[in-house]
């Protein structure tokens, strides 16, 4: 029984939200409370189901665990192949954790079309988990693109004033990157089937192939563009502020918390191990773009008059750190990057929730409209402060661990990039604390702010789990670091082995070329 449970756990995580969505179809649309409770139950169930995944994960192995494989399209070698390593494990946990909180947070803010809202969120969860656990490139792509549809609806139906523009911009940007990745996947697939004679989309099999330099570069660009748009890296970030500002609170939380991580996850899972030579060649350029992102995001955040926009641009800055960590090619930096992905999900998620809560009360997000909230809403201000500090990277909270590890690793690899990146840490303190001060301290200049109600129990319940994890990661980072260490190490080893093989072959011309090496110029 337990064996059966563990060997089907991942597909269960994918199916439960899907069944939940199907179940919602039956619930009549007038029963709003029932719709909400049902969705909350489904997402909570999924979170509970994901706990054994975390507990039973073998920390010492960098291999994929909880593997499942079924035939899907046997004629072209695509299969329903799932598995997690330490990196995807954390991403799955982050997703299942955020979902119930998001549903809970929309209790009062979403009153129209509740049924549709709940359905698309559940469909979104299915797609997001699918992206993180797919070990088949085609399956990964299907989930990757399928995710667009619910997110498009979330922005377009429940969004703000300019939601139609933001939704279509989000859609076109993401799909533009996605389709080029599809071409990349197909090229990779045929490269493998024409040299090794086996037609398969399996990640592990394709990962054994050593690809020629020129081909690596093109494939890296095809995959990388899709991921860079999703991250988003400067200069592909312009969809992000629009999408974030227009999306409803729940949409922003998921967008920042999970969807952006898919970009960095994609780099780590696909671009680095599959195309290590191209990754190494482009690393200075990408590192530079990352640092520009860190500084640019921070500077733009500084001058934002709108709270949500400020948080949105701070994402550009934080994700810049993650990219810098990934492209430093050492264990510290990459582990830091993975932790930072989780951190950003927690603290930015919490920030968007907090902004949503105050927006519900005041129907404005302009920083200038607030001031002196600390005395009216003490609980709100306290929680806001903790989240702000976590986002800045105060030691003892989660943000510090990630940024510190990234910078530590980056200094060893690329000191010329790490130094300006450090400036980003300072800047983040500047813009976050300035914002905090203007919102919570000082005189109350607006009459409306005098009688604001403090957080309700429900709202505290939404924030509490996030804060708990912020402290936990900050104080006991080992829990997560142990999970990711072997997996990150494995990716780095794969890269190194492939690099040496490729170099070896160019130095001495061996008569017997291994069959797996293709497209060598």
């Amino acid at each position: 029984m337990t064996d059966f449970f563990f060997s089907h756990l991942l597909s269960l995580l994918i199916v439960v939200p899907l069944l939940g969505a199907a179940g919602l179809f039956i619930v009549p649309r007038e029963r709003i409370a029932a719709l909400r409770l049902f969705t909350l139950a489904a997402t909570t169930l999924n979170f509970i189901l994901s706990l054994p995944l975390f507990i039973h994960f073998d920390n010492h192995s960098g291999d994929f665990q909880f593997i499942e494989q079924y035939d899907w399209i046997p004629s072209i070698g695509a299969s329903f192949h799932l598995g997690v390593d330490g990196i995807s494990l954390l991403m799955v946990m982050l997703t299942t954790l955020l979902m119930p909180l998001v549903i809970l947070s929309s209790w009062t803010s979403i009153v129209h079309r509740v049924k549709e809202y709940m359905i698309v969120f559940l469909l979104l969860e299915t797609a997001m988990i699918g992206v993180f656990v797919s070990l088949d490139l085609l399956l990964f792509y299907v989930f990757w693109e399928a995710m667009l549809i619910p997110m498009y609806f979330i922005i377009g139906v429940w969004g703000g004033e300019r939601r139609l523009y933001a939704a279509i911009k989000f859609f076109l940007f993401t799909m533009f990157g996605g389709v080029l990745m599809l071409v990349g996947i197909l090229v990779l697939y045929f490269m493998h089937s024409q040299t090794a004679g086996v037609a398969t989309f399996s990640y592990s099999t394709l990962n054994q192939m050593i690809i020629g330099r020129q081909a690596q570069l093109w494939l890296f660009l095809a995959f990388g563009l899709a991921f860079a748009i999703k991250v988003p890296m400067v200069p592909f970030h312009t969809w992000l502020p629009d999408a974030h500002v227009e999306a409803p609170t729940g949409g922003s939380v998921i967008l920042a918390g999970v969807l952006l991580k898919m970009g960095t996850y994609g780099f780590l899972r696909f671009c680095l191990p599959l195309f290590p030579h191209a990754a190494a060649r482009l690393a200075p350029l990408i590192g530079l773009a990352a640092v520009i992102g860190i500084l640019y995001g921070a500077l733009v955040s500084w001058v934002q008059p709108d709270l949500k926009k400020l948080v949105a641009y701070s994402s550009v800055s934080h994700l810049g750190f993650v990219m810098l960590g990934l492209f430093s090619f050492n264990v510290q930096a990459q582990q830091g990057a993975v932790i930072q992905m989780v951190n950003h999900g927690l603290s930015t998620g919490a920030l968007f929730l907090l902004v949503g809560m105050i927006y519900e009360r005041r129907h404005t997000r302009q920083i200038a409209d607030f001031g002196g909230l600390a005395s009216v809403m003490p609980a709100f201000s306290t929680l806001f402060l903790i989240v702000t500090l976590s986002s800045i990277g105060l030691p003892g909270l989660n943000g510090f661990i990630g940024e510190f590890l990234i910078l530590l690793g980056a200094f060893q690899a690329k000191p010329y990039l790490a130094v300006p990146a450090t400036l980003g840490v300072v800047l983040s303190a500047v813009y976050m604390l300035t914002m905090y001060q203007r919102v919570h301290f000082g005189k109350r200049t607006h009459e409306e702010n005098n009688h604001l109600a403090d957080l309700t129990l429900r709202e505290k319940l939404v924030l509490l789990p996030l804060l708990l994890f912020c402290f936990w990661i900050g104080l006991f980072p080992g829990t997560l670091l142990h999970k990711t260490e072997a997996s990150v190490q494995k990716i780095l080893t794969t890269m190194e082995v492939k690099q040496t093989t490729l170099l070896d072959r160019t130095e001495r011309i061996s008569p017997a070329q291994p069959a797996y090496v293709v497209n060598e110029e």
Binding site: S75, L164, A167, L180
Partner: protein, 484 residues
């Protein structure tokens, strides 16, 4: 002189015979029973289609060549007959939804539909040029009439006339090409003439000219750019179900003949097909998509989008391989389901014969007034734009992967970028369905059972083939190209 009686194998023609009998029966029924209503006639037609489908299913998979090699039933023909029958079935069902038109004789309407279906089935199952031409004229003339069947409407008559004139022009090209080919080779069998030719320059010139003219005639039918001009006007003027049938079935028939022409001429004569097809594919996709973006009328938008889909099909044709042909067939199936489904929802929107309400604005807020129809339309739009998990994605995947396999990566890049552009106009419809409030409170007529059935079938197929494509690919696995 000895006369050997040709062997007549009726199994091969049983699907055709079933349809022919039904079509004639439908024509005669209203003569004897004046009270025979639309529902009864449609019921008879559906039964005929189902019988034909069963007969088709009973045909053995080995290629049959009957009637002194005039008729050929290879896996390609059987597969496309399946797609054509599906198209006819869905079209019949969505035809039931329209407000009954007092000027329309439904017996004629349904039998014309079946006659055009018979013509398409003949066209797709022969190597013989004469039979090909007969079949082509049979379905074309039926379609010219169908386009103008709403005879009290000026735009319908205009559509019919336009289609007739341009179609006749295309037939002229086709016939001229056939004459040249026959003159050069001395045979009417397409699969033999290319093999028996003598390679002297003048014969080759005749063959080239013949093949090109034949190609142009077919390109008209398939609405490839630059032979696409008739499409939007004809689709707009015709009754919505007729447009649905033309956009899917005609395309299927024309593409199968193209496959047959290309497969054999490629083997024998050195003609730069890949280059020609690439240019046409790029033109067809891009022009179709760019023109679709600016449409205010949903029907015209779908007309231009159907042009761009012909372009995607050409990408599969460029691959010139068994997997490419299978991909084309797969796409024809999924396109039939999703496109007729989309047209079905369009026909639902029309409140009366005078007001079809085909502008984008009419769709505002539809998602909350008729949820099922709107959901179907949204799914069809996502599928048409090639998004997973719907069948349109798998269809494009097969087409594009066949091209990548042969190294046409740049062509595929252009094709996928075209898909992105197409998202813009498909999503405009989805925006109106769900993201904008209705401008006016307008009650929609209740969807008729026929339409509901059609939408349900189309939705089911679109989702099923998207999630588990093996259901369909296993049926198409027998299609293969003769090896050079």
């Amino acid at each position: 002189m000895t006369f050997t009686q040709p062997t007549i194998d009726l199994t091969a023609v049983s699907p055709l015979l079933a349809l022919l009998a039904t079509a004639i029966f439908l024509l005669l029924l209203p003569l004897f029973f004046r009270s025979a209503g639309r529902a009864l006639l449609a019921f008879v037609a559906v039964i005929g289609l189902l019988i034909s489908g069963v007969c088709l299913f009973r045909i053995p998979v080995v290629p049959i060549s009957g009637f002194d090699r005039l008729l050929l039933l290879d896996p390609l023909a059987i597969a496309v007959h399946g797609a054509l029958l599906l198209a006819a079935l869905l079209t019949l069902l969505i035809s039931l939804n329209r407000v009954e038109d007092e000027y329309l004789n439904y017996g004629e309407y349904f039998s014309l539909l079946l006659f055009s279906l018979i013509g398409m089935m003949i066209v797709t199952s022969t190597w013989n040029l004469l039979v090909l031409f007969l079949g082509l004229e049979l379905f074309s003339i039926a379609l010219y009439t169908l386009a103008g069947i709403r005879k009290m409407r000026a735009d319908s008559v205009e559509a019919s006339l336009k289609y007739l004139l341009l179609g006749a022009f295309a037939s002229g090209f086709l016939l001229y090409g056939m004459a040249l080919l026959y003159g050069a080779s001395g045979t009417l069998q397409l699969n033999e003439m290319m093999l028996g030719i003598e390679a002297d320059a003048s014969t080759l010139a005749l063959i080239y000219a013949g093949v090109i003219l034949l190609f142009i005639g077919l390109a008209f039918k398939a609405a490839l750019v630059p032979f696409h001009m008739w499409t939007p006007d004809v689709y707009e003027g015709s009754a919505t179900p007729v447009s649905a049938f033309m956009s899917t079935a005609t395309k299927a028939a024309a593409f199968i003949v193209l496959i047959r022409l290309l497969a054999h001429s490629e083997l024998a004569i050195r003609f730069p097909w890949p280059q020609l097809l690439i240019v046409l594919a790029v033109l067809t996709m891009t022009v179709g998509n760019l023109l679709a973006i600016h449409q205010k009328n949903v029907k015209r938008m779908l007309a231009y989008s159907s042009i761009s889909h012909a372009g995607y099909l050409l990408v599969g044709l460029t691959a010139a391989s068994s997997s490419g042909d299978q991909a084309v067939l797969f796409y024809l199936f999924v396109y039939t389901a999703m496109n007729i489904g989309a047209f079905g929802v369009l026909s639902h929107m029309g409140v009366s014969n005078a007001d079809e309400r085909v502008d984008f604005e009419s769709y505002r807020g539809m998602g909350y007034r008729s949820p099922f129809a709107a959901l179907c339309l949204a799914v069809f739009m996502f599928s048409l734009s090639g998004l997973p998990p719907f069948s349109g994605f798998i269809g494009k995947l097969y087409l594009f992967s066949a091209a990548v396999e042969k190294g046409y990566v740049a062509l595929v890049v252009i094709a996928v970028l075209n898909s992105v552009a197409s998202v813009y106009y498909y999503m405009r419809l989805v925006v109106n369905l769900y993201m904008r409030d209705p401008a006016e409170e307008l009650s929609l007529p209740r969807a008729n059972a026929g339409l509901k059935a059609a939408l349900f079938i189309a939705l089911l197929l679109t989702v099923l083939w998207g999630i588990y494509p093996s259901l369909l690919t296993d049926l198409l696995a027998g299609i293969s190209r003769p090896l050079p």
